[in-house]
């Protein structure tokens, strides 16, 4: 199982990376807790999660090849 994790804006800066690959993550909660393990400051930040380009509001099961994006508040325009 291979999950691609994309990080943007302040989150990419904080984690020092824009793209990670995680393996043992069954759902999006597991993605967040692994990343919070790497970088505890993440817990204080406000962000939305998208799975395969769709914003989710609850924990979601992941299958091989999915892409999870962690997105801080938007500031386009």
């Amino acid at each position: 199982m291979n999950i691609e994790v994309l990080l943007f804006g302040r989150l990419a800066e904080l984690l020092g990376s824009e793209r990670l690959h995680l393996e043992a993550v069954a759902d999006t909660d597991a993605v967040c807790s692994q990343l919070e393990g790497l970088c505890p400051a993440l817990k204080q930040l406000n962000y939305q999660i998208a799975v395969n380009h769709m914003i989710i509001h609850d924990n979601q099961w992941l299958t091989d090849g999915m892409t999870v994006a962690l997105m801080p508040p938007f500031s386009g325009g």
Binding site: F8, G9, A50, H53, S75, G76, G77
Partner: protein, 147 residues
């Protein structure tokens, strides 16, 4: 299921006044258009303590942004009697005083163009996965957040 090609909205750096003029000119052959409503977002040199914003560096989740934009475009065309609709957003550095967002709505009668433009600008600010990093005159930076 094959996906149709998504229209690109991103441009490198600022949107020039010349580019805007050319877009307007292109729409002067359509003799059913009676109104254009244009919104331009421009980078402000806000003062932050002792420093000023020298520019904004934009990044985006491009694939998702283009999908989202396509969805918004469909919704706007369904709601308003538009002739056409174009959106251009900068990526990379846009210096203070330059344009980073160009929204261009055209319609036979003014109301549709104006309302569509207003609604689209609000949705772009709220829903498009784009991030602006404000670069200060001392090279420090801070992350912008839309209200």
């Amino acid at each position: 299921m094959k996906e149709r090609k998504l229209k690109n909205i991103f441009v490198n750096g600022a949107v020039s006044a010349q580019f805007i003029a050319e877009s307007i000119e292109k729409h002067q052959h359509s003799t059913t258009i009676g109104a254009h409503s244009i919104f331009l977002g421009q980078v402000r040199a806000d003062e932050i303590g002792e420093e000023r914003v020298a520019g904004i560096n934009y990044t985006a989740y491009e694939e998702m942004a283009l999908k989202k934009m396509d969805e918004m475009r469909e919704a706007i065309f369904e709601k308003y009697a538009l002739s056409c609709l174009h959106v251009h957003h900068s990526l990379g550095l846009v210096p203070a005083g330059q344009v980073c967002l160009f929204v261009f709505c055209s319609s036979p009668h003014r109301k549709a163009a104006m309302e569509a433009c207003d609604e689209l600008v609000e949705r772009i600010k709220a829903e498009l996965p784009v991030w602006g990093k404000e670069i200060l005159t001392n090279e420090a930076h801070q992350w912008k957040e839309n209200k």
